[in-house]
Amino acid sequence: MTNLIELKNVKHAYQTPAGPLPVLDGLDIAVPESSFCAVVGPSGCGKSTLTRLIAGLMFPDEGEVWLHGDLVRAPRATVGMAFQNPVLLEWRSILRNVILPLEIVAPRMPEKKRVARAEQLLALVGLEGFEDKRPSELSGGMRQRASLCRAIVHRPEVLILDEPFGALDAFTREDLWQTMHDLRVEEPFTTLLITHDLRESVYLADQVVVLSGRPAATQYVLDVDMPVPRPIDSLYEPAAVEMLATLRHQIQIAQGRAPAQEATQ
């Protein structure tokens, strides 16, 4: 299997009046095609910078970002993004919101096909019958579902999720996790998920990358060896509990609250 997303020794610093502020310092991530990678780390460690680098909205000072065997030099339409804030457009119906990327990526696509594609996705995430509603008429969880549909409507190779479930209540969040598994069965995208929720990372991902505190480097990579799609109960199996403990410990090291030598167990 080839790596669809590959970051090699990526370093990046922001220029501030007080001098350069390094945020990424030696980041290595490799995500095989159609697998799911979760990135966790202490807050403010440059996770959002990472998403912008992969989307081609920014370029690293040093190191390389590869997508599907190409060095990333510009934004590319093979990327879909969803954020914590679903940012749906209030003047468009849910259906028209989902269609938006198609208007840009595939301007010649017949309207009928666009609508069919969006309706198919909305049905898949359980929003059948809400196509004509305005975003403000939907609950937070439903808006986030629509936002996910918009992120994958143009069949991107790479799906970048920047804490999309962070602002939802616990039950809604678990529902959306299930939806993510359902989507993965139907749609062939490779995912990079930024999250603060360790349970979320273990439940959804095939590998979890732990970043160190700022400036962020790859500190630890955990392979989640559980079959997908997973029932939510799998989180309470001993193997999953052990993985969670490992990750929590790694986060504490990243935060500087636990000595690093214990990391090797």
């Binding site: 339409a77 990327v79 993004m81 209030e90 003047w91 938006l100 840009i104 990526v105 305005r134």
Partner: protein, 256 residues
């Protein structure tokens, strides 16, 4: 027609009638002469006596105001776009605009009347424009500069051009603020038109009618002009409200 619709028409009409009656009674009770305060019963005949002039001058004031507003919308939107999309231009233009806006337009009126002497239509439109473009420019600038960065990231990551982002997201998102500013601009533009019409001796328009009422000590006529201006103001305001419903009706949340 349903009961709710009747209520929509009846309540404002009733409001106007009640205020009119109170006004009439008040003037009668105080025994005020017309030069102190004209009563509605004086204003009606004043309208009738000058009905042709009211139509002719009212139209003049209206179209000058509308043209001034259209120019204000064009220039205001353009300035707002420049300031909203470029940090540099915002820093460069903002103090200038604020300073320009701070100058009381009543003081600019005689200057303009001298510079473009005799160009009545042009002068009037110019002042209407000058007094009303500022809120439009500011609202468009704020609407554009407060665009959530996520929108830009989503569209730019798809390879959308700046124009596409502006057309599909920034522009429609700014419309509610734009219409809010336009409602303010409508009343401001009327002030501008009338300032100029009052000052210019041969400029015509309702302002001129007002001034001739003053010169001839025809006080009911002056009050009648004020009422006519209020009517025109209401008319334009509701035109803007209808446009807002059509183009930015989505911003009105239904209380469900």
């Amino acid at each position: 027609m349903s009961g709710a619709n009747w209520q929509k028409i009846l309540s404002p009409v009733l409001g106007i009638v009640v205020v009119g009656v109170l006004w009439e009674v008040w003037v009668w009770y105080m025994q005020w002469p017309t030069y102190k305060m004209a009563a509605p019963s004086d204003i009606g005949p004043a309208f009738w006596r000058f009905k042709e002039l009211f139509l002719q001058y009212g139209w003049q004031t209206l179209w000058r105001t509308v043209v001034g507003l259209l120019v204000a919308v064009a220039v205001g939107t353009f300035l707002g776009m420049i300031m909203g999309l470029s940090r540099l231009m915002r820093d460069a233009l903002y103090p200038l605009l604020v300073g320009f806006n701070a100058v009381p337009k009543a003081t600019v009126v005689p200057v303009v009347a001298l510079v473009f002497v005799g160009q009545h239509d042009f002068n009037t439109i110019l002042i209407a424009f000058m007094i009303s473009f500022f809120p439009i420019a500011v609202s468009v600038a704020i609407g554009l500069s407060t665009l959530e960065p996520e929108y830009r990231d989503i569209l730019r990551s798809l390879g959308a051009s700046r124009f596409t982002i502006f057309w599909k997201i920034a522009l429609p998102k700014t419309l509610p603020e734009f219409f809010g500013a336009l409602k303010v601009a409508v009343t401001l533009a009327f002030i501008g038109t009338n300032l100029m019409e009052i000052v210019e001796p041969h400029g015509k328009g309702l302002g001129h009618l007002f001034e001739s009422g003053r010169i001839n000590s025809d006080y009911p006529l002056m009050f009648a002009v004020l009422i006519a201006l209020a009517l025109l103001g209401i008319l334009l305001y509701y035109v803007v409200v209808v446009l807002e419903r059509i183009f930015a009706g989505w911003a009105e949340r239904n209380p469900t």
